[in-house]
Symmetry: D3
């Protein structure tokens, strides 16, 4: 095992995936520790760590490839989070998906659009929940019951 | 036929492909006038003309997709010219190709690298030839013979 | 935006998809209004509207491609409805799927067959329900309760 | 119809798929009797029955192809059972999947790994259940109630 | 070996491929006698021989799939001959190719269009040559020299 | 750069590719030194070096994947040499290719078969040449002229 590349990979992974990074790494390690290690070492420790192309451009390239390949929807969803994290906007993600209709056909673009909108919706719902909780901080007497209901819904 | 989208498409196509644009359009029209028209109208008139993603990022996305798809080498070569034209550097093109080994496998990356290096070499040879011709402008008496030899080699 | 191609696209879309057309268009527009517009304008306004190949043959070609591509099951299901609508029989759809085992392998054919049989079953269940309701028109006193139960099940 | 190839196919299918073979054949025949017959006759009656490559190597080749194709997860799961049955170990299956990251990219390897681990877990749970039932044979007074609960859970 | 399916396959193959059929079979047998036999037995003896979809529709489906798959250009060329032979017109072939831009992207459609136009040109050149030879039958004294030149060019 | 994995990769590469190994590495390095390094480090230094699956089985898996992917003919040819080198027989390679018709369709199998037979023929021609040279060792007076002619032909 190569400590250095592995550690660089973890750092790069967290830089790209943000606060979700830790959790995704854990799930990958549960799935298969060797495959998890290679993912951290080679794509993230070696490739994403290379100079010569900025992280935003790297995520644009990855999104385009995952949309075009057509059978990588779970990975596309993870990389949509990553792309947003390194400065690709929602609108830019949508543009990449629409553009892929030209190169990989409309079915690939459509399936990717469904995945992207699903990710956006989940993010908005989570954000709304946090917002609500924050607002309720100013209504201390109502908080406990409401939070319980909140949790029941989710 | 829709004049506006068609004309926007031709402009966009020439903006991206540079001085090679005119010639590629002619070859596409010889191949099939209807398919040529759709290429100019939809990808270039509609998609590349959209705001929301700059041309450099659009070419990065297209290069990534063409490498990942694996069966679009002629289109990859054309888009390498286009990418260079809108500000993607050779190094960045190489980075995109190497990164695709992660998502589409090493064979796809290798075949794309061969195509890219071929395009770069052709460009360098053409540039060298022009350079030589320019230098020879200062050796007027030697020019005719040398140019003939030059042409014999090519 | 191009009104003419868009309107032709909507007409063509409804001609192919039948009474489901309106609803699918609405869902596409909810998903992404721009991608929805391009789908109506380019494939349906431009391509399916071309003379030179009848609609039945166009749907045969599309079904074959969607089976062979292997990662377009949702689109395959929508086009099975479309194909039936423009005169492709269930038996012909099954023949196309079996034939694709030759060109794209048995897994692609198998996954498509599951999708096709699912669509056929849903159609038969809906038809049976309608049939039942019609029959019950002749048993007026039993109708209200039975219809409620019917709806509860669906 | 060709009785001989069909019968050889059924035998080969059961040899590979083990005690699950009968059930999978029935499900294939329910799905589509003609496609089921071709699957038994051509891949299993003709190809897997050929000398020149042992069954274990044939299953290794098939697993690799199904991982690389990326859109054949249901078939991959069935062939993981088959591979285990003809002597490919779990570790060897995991090795094949990891190796495919090199040729078809990490998303294909990741999706295949999820499928494989799911199959392994299901097998372990079934095995545990059988084990439990066997152990309870020595606690005769507790058996009836426990078995009922057991069955309710499954 | 199964004589009946094999013989039906040869007949069907020749019916579809026309006067080129014999020659293609020989080349397939030189390549690999077993693979050649399976191609004649399964796709042509079993599938193309099935009722339920006419030969013209079968060739439309096959052309669409081969264009969409993108890595089957040699097979696409052979099937363009076959399609023309069973009643698909050149215009219809072009329509299928253009339509595939929608489902498999423009690169797949473009590469297929190049292949199709190449096949059409070869056919036209052969036809012209035959035409010339026929015309020259009426100019007997000029024939020998002209035929030699003709052959030199080809 | 990681010396150890790189050196293990070179050793493994040469073990698999045999006497051609050195030359292929040089060509890869000329193409692109970074991509060459990753190929030696990750697939060969990391993956092929793993215990848990013997080299022969690894090459069977790789051949199957490259045939199924359909757009990796140059890599397939290189791996046919590698497979033969680690103990896969020509007949076994042909079996793998024929089997892939089941999972990836007949066009993929046919294109791979052409590639395989081309590799076999080249090997046989080289072997014959060497054989001839050896035989001529016993006709010393004729050797020089004949060898020159031999080289002119190749």
């Amino acid at each position: 095992m190569n400590k250095d590349r592995y550690e660089i990979g973890i750092e790069k992974f967290k830089e790209i995936k943000g606060d979700k990074g830790e959790q995704i790494i854990e799930r990958l390690q549960e799935l298969d520790p060797d495959l998890a290690r290679y993912i951290l070492e080679f794509p993230f420790g070696d490739i994403y760590n290379r100079p010569g192309l900025d992280l935003k451009s790297r995520e644009i390239a990855t999104l385009a490839a995952l949309v075009a390949l057509g059978n990588a929807i779970p990975q596309l969803k993870v990389h949509i989070h990553g792309a947003l994290n390194v400065g690709v906007s929602r609108q830019e993600i949508i543009e990449i998906i629409i553009q892929m209709a030209v190169y990989a056909g409309f079915p690939a673009a459509l399936n990717a659009m469904y995945a992207a909108k699903e990710v956006f919706m989940e993010m908005d719902e989570k954000a709304k929940k946090k917002e609500n909780v924050k607002l309720k901080d100013f209504e201390p007497d109502k908080l406990p019951t409401q939070l319980i209901k909140q949790n029941e819904k989710s």
